[in-house]
Amino acid sequence: MKRPLLPILVCLIWVLLAIVGPWLSLDPNHIHLQSILQPPGSASFLGFDDLGRPILDRLILGARTSLLVSVWVVGLSAVTGILIGTLTAYIGGWLDLVVVRVIDVFMAFPGILLAIALAGIMGPGINNVVIALSVVGWVGFARQARALTLSVKERDHVAAAVSMGTGTPRIILRHLLPLISAPLIVEATFGIAAVIISEAGLSFLGLGVQPPEASWGSMIRDGARYMLVSPHMVLAPGLALMLVVLSVNLLGDWLRDVMDSRLRQAGSDTC
C-alpha cells in the first residue's frame, strides 16, 4: 500500500500550525485601515479582509479552531459511543433494545440539522459547537461498535475469559476492544473530516465561534459578502478547508485499505 505522502504532509502542516500558532507572533486581530480588502501582495501573503486584518494570520487562527473542535468532538463522541455500543451489545437484553431505539431516533434527524438546532438554542460559542456536534456524533460510533461487538462476542476466547471469572469491564477493554478497534479508528479518521466541515458550517451560519475569533467557516461567510470586489477573501479559507478535509479523507481511505489487508492476513493465518 503506497503511503499517501502529500495528504500526510498537509495534515502535519495543519496540526503544526494549529499548535504553534500562538507562538508565531501573529496579528490576526490587528486592523490595518489602509489595507482594507487589499489583494495578496508583499504586505501580506494572502491579502487583507474587509476590516483590514491579515488573512494568512486569521487562516492559522482558523486552523486552530478546526483542530481543537475536531479533536474534542471526535474524542468525546468516540469514547461515549464506543462505551455505549460495546456495553449494550455485550450485556444485551432490554438495555440493548432501549439503546437501539434511542439510536434509531437520533439517526432520524439529519445530523447537521440537529447540530444546527442545538447550537442555535444553546447560543453561539465554541464550547456549544463541541457539545452540539458530540451529541450528534456519538451515534455513529455506538452503532458501529455495537455491530462489531455482536460479531465477535461469541468467540471462544471471550467464553474462556468469562468461564475464568473475568469481570465485564476487563472483558470489554482487553478481549473485545482490541478486536474491533481497526474499523473504529478508520471511522474516527473520517469523523475528523466530517467535524471540520460541520464546525465550519455552523460558523458559516453564525452559530459557531464568535468574532474576533476566526473559523474557516466564518471567514467564508464574511468573504462571500465581498465576493464581487475581493474574491481572495472567500477563496483562501475555502481552499484551506477543502485541502485539509481532502487530505484527512485520503488518509482515512489509506488507513482502511491497510487495516483491511492486515485483517485479511490475520484471518488467513488462523485458518
Binding site: R101, I112, G123, A224, V234
Partner: protein
Amino acid sequence: MLRFLLYRLFSTLLVVFGVSVMVFLLIHMVPGDPVDMMLGESARPADREALRHALGLDLSLWVQFSQFMSGLVRGDLGVSIHSNRPVSELLLERAPATIELALAALLISVVIALPMGVLAAVRRNTLWDKGAMAFSLLGVSMPNFWLGPLLILIFSVGLGWFPVSGREYTGSLVLPAITLGTALAAVLSRMVRSSLLEVLGEDFVRTARAKGLPERIVIWKHALLNALLPVITLLGLQLGVLLGGAVITETVFSWPGLGKLTIDAILRRDYPVVQGTILVISVTYVVVNMLTDMVYGIVDPRIRLGNPK
C-alpha cells in the same frame, strides 16, 4: 408481506414519537432560558413573565408536553413569535421551494453518478475509473457553503449565466441544485461503482455473457438493474444529508425554503418555528426511509423474509 409492512409501519411510528419527544426536549431542557434569549438579560421581570405565560413556559413540563403532543396530533404546531402566524401555515408556504430544490438536486446527482459509476466499474483501473473516483473524493470534501459561493463567482459574477440568489427567475434553481447535488453525486457514483463491480462477478452475468448477449445489454439490463437495489437504499438514507444540506444551501442562495426558514427562526429565537421545521424535516426523512424500505421489501423477497420478529 402484510406482516412486513405492518412491522415497518409500527417501528416508524415509534421513531416518529421518539423524534417528537426529542424535539420537545430540545427546546425545553437544553440549558439556557428561551425567554432570556428572546428578550435579552436586561428585560424587565414583568415582560419576562408575560412572555413566559404567552409561551406556556410557566406550566409544568408534563402539561406543556401533553399540550405539545395533542397539538401535534391535530396538526397544530403553535404560532410564530416573529410573524404571529401559525407555524403550519409557514411550513406549507415554504415547503414547495425545498421540495423543488431537493428533487432537482436528486435528479442532478443521479444523472451525474449513474453514468460515472458505471463507466468506472466497467473500465476498472483505467484513467476513467481514477477520474471518477477523484471526482467522488473531491465532491465529499467540498462543503456546500464553499462550493456555492464558488459557483456564484464563476457562473453568476463571471459569466452572468445564472442569477446570484433568490427564486424569482428561471435558471435560479440551477446553481443551488448543483451545489446541493454534488456531494450526493460523489457518494452515489462510488456506490454504483462498487455495487456494479460486485454484481459483475456473479454467475448470472457470466451466463448472460456466455449465451452471447452483447456487452451493452449485459451491463445495462442484467447487471445494473441488480446493482441498483443497494443504491436505492443509500438514496433513501442520503435524503437526510440532502435535507440537512438544504439548510446551508438555501442560506447561501437566499432560497426561500424550509432550510432558510429554520436558520432565520434560529437567529430570531423564534422557537415554535424552529420546533416545527425540525420536526417536519426529520419526520419527512423517517417516512421516506420507511417507504424505501417497503419498496425494497416488495421488490426483493430476501429482505422481508430475513426480517427479524
